[in-house]
């Protein structure tokens, strides 16, 4: 008995899964505010007003601060939008239902990754728009576009971190556990205050921040290629470990 599905139908399943994942997150006002409005407001006040306008920051500092906030803007959608939702859906039985029904695990993860990238892109575009409108930035349109593209792709790193936590935590504990990772990753990268270089190396966000700093003319050291390699390797490793975990155990109950 053949139960095969045509490539066209399979592609449609991937697309619909992604479309409805994005749609449902857009319909969640709390998530939208935290993912899109909060980074913009925080950047406008802390980044633009305090760091750039009050400090009369030179273009290099404006670029560095812009890079920091681009990183910050893509952290939430990946870690909380992707990771926390996996833990919640696992506890609520949705993941088990999808595993029992013929939903490819890859389609499920692809949809969530696309949602993280989409929200990350919108958040970083908003930050870029604020930078262009309200600071004395000397960044070109190409540099803004490059920064948005890099930070958007960087959302995949945070999605992988979120998935790693979400595939292990219960719905009850996932928010707390995610914060335990989110806050150190954010603070140790030196996004908001000076941190010794040796400590920065611990945070994955640091490598994305450095990559962005290179592209927008901010303060950067080290090899861009090495940063890209670290980001890709870390994303791949965490995703592989999480998929292994989810494949073994789609449910949390016995």
């Amino acid at each position: 008995m053949s139960l095969a599905i045509s490539p066209r139908r399979l592609a449609r399943a991937y697309l619909l899964e992604a479309r409805f994942e994005c749609l449902r997150m857009m319909r969640s006002p709390i998530f939208t505010i935290l993912a899109l409005v909060m980074p913009l407001l925080m950047y406008a006040f802390l980044g633009v007003y305090l760091d750039c306008i009050l400090d009369k920051a030179p273009p290099a500092k404006i670029a560095t601060v812009f890079g920091h906030w681009c990183v910050f803007s893509v952290m939430w959608p990946g870690m909380f939008g992707f990771g926390a939702s996996v833990a919640i859906e696992r506890d609520q039985g949705l993941l088990a239902l999808k595993r029992a029904m013929p939903v490819p695990l890859a389609a499920y993860l692809f949809a969530k990754a696309l949602m993280s990238v989409l929200f990350g892109a919108i958040a970083s575009i908003l930050v870029a728009a604020a930078c262009a409108l309200f600071t004395q930035s000397s960044l070109t349109f190409g540099q803004y576009a490059e920064a948005i593209a890099i930070s958007t792709l960087g959302a995949l790193l945070f999605a992988a971190i979120g998935l790693f936590v979400g595939s292990r935590a219960t719905a009850q504990h996932v928010t707390g556990m995610m914060y335990l990772v989110y806050i150190p990753v954010m603070l140790l990268a030196g996004l908001f205050f000076p941190v010794p270089q040796a400590i920065k190396l611990v945070s994955p966000a640091f490598y994305l921040d450095q990559l962005l700093a290179y592209r927008v003319g901010g303060a950067a050291t080290g090899s861009q290629l090495a940063y890209v390699a670290i980001l890709v390797a870390l994303t791949a490793l965490l995703t592989a470990l999480s998929i292994r975990r989810l494949t073994k155990n789609a449910t949390t109950s016995t």
């Binding site: 139960l3 899964e17 039985g93 088990a96 029992a100 016995t254």
Partner: protein, 297 residues
């Protein structure tokens, strides 16, 4: 020629720590049949379902779905599932959920057709999170059948449904079976199994303690229940040969007997004033209670 087995659990055992959830269980589902899996809480029903669906792996034995490992994606394209604990995305509308789940299959039903069959048309544009518990179960059923599955796994499908929704679901289940769909149903409502099932498997402590048609399992308890308004004393009725048990509630006698005819004749000849006579055959409920009591003792 033997019929192709849609599901086959062959000698499967599963432990969770010290708890034996399934103990060398053999169970199969044949084409076009509705198999009801019954058992008290902790009997192993949900674990058996998880093994059938590839959500858990057996410690011993083999689980097969359409002759293949249920972990593979392809055999799962022939099934629809309604689980006991499932929550669909609350922000999506009912029609969107059906459209999404339909996309996983090669030849699904049209969304409108699914909603017609499951009585969910009036909920079409409502967000899933805003529905009542019973309405959510209806939508979960719609999602389970939308892909024209050859096998439908329904875990406690009518919990929380009102009578109208339950009646509609029963009618749809009967129609699906008539169309050749095989169904595995777990339920705590024994009348549901009695009304729908071709075969019944009773599980207790991870093993099958009875397997057969509803009639065969019911015949494990060959008893009749007779009740009537009568002034006859309990002791006198108890002395009759066929009578197993008698008790009185106000002016009504409740009699359990091996067979009804002789007892009814005796009642009518002994009490000319007797009224409101009712005779019932013992149902699946009594059989289930007897079987699980015996295993526990």
């Amino acid at each position: 020629m033997t019929a192709e087995k849609l599901v086959e659990l062959s000698g499967v055992s599963k432990r969770f720590g010290d708890i034996v959830a399934l103990d060398r269980l053999d169970l199969e589902v044949l084409p076009g049949e509705l198999l009801a899996v019954l058992g008290p809480n902790g009997a192993g029903k949900s674990t058996a379902i998880m093994l059938m669906l590839g959500l858990r792996q057996p410690d011993l034995g083999i689980a097969r779905l359409f002759g293949r490992s249920p972990v593979d994606l392809e055999p799962r394209r022939g099934i629809g599932v309604m689980m006991q604990q499932e929550s669909l995305p609350s922000e999506l509308r009912v029609s969107e959920l059906i459209e999404l789940f339909s996309s996983y299959y090669q030849s699904p039903m049209a969304v409108e057709e699914v909603m017609d069959m499951t009585g969910t048309k009036s909920l079409k544009d409502r967000a899933y999170g805003k529905l009542s518990g019973g309405q959510k179960r209806q939508v979960q059923f719609a999602v389970a059948i939308c892909g024209r599955p050859k096998l439908l796994v329904l875990d406690e499908p009518t919990v929380g449904m009102d009578i109208q929704a339950r009646t509609m679901l029963w009618a749809t289940i009967r129609r699906l079976v008539q169309d050749g769909v095989s169904i595995v149903l777990t339920t705590h409502y024994l009348e549901e199994a009695e009304a729908l099932a071709d075969r019944v498997a009773v599980l207790s402590k991870g093993r099958i303690i009875a397997l057969g048609t509803v009639g065969e399992v019911r015949s494990i308890v060959v008893r009749m229940r007779i009740s009537c308004v009568s002034s006859l004393s309990v002791d006198r009725v108890m002395s009759w040969q066929e009578v197993i048990d008698v008790h009185r509630e106000e002016d009504r006698l409740y009699i359990t007997a091996h067979e009804a005819e002789n007892v009814v004749r005796s009642l009518l000849s002994a009490d000319a004033e007797l009224s409101e006579l009712e005779v019932h055959r013992a149902g699946l409920t009594e059989a289930f209670a007897k079987l699980t009591r015996e295993v526990n003792s």
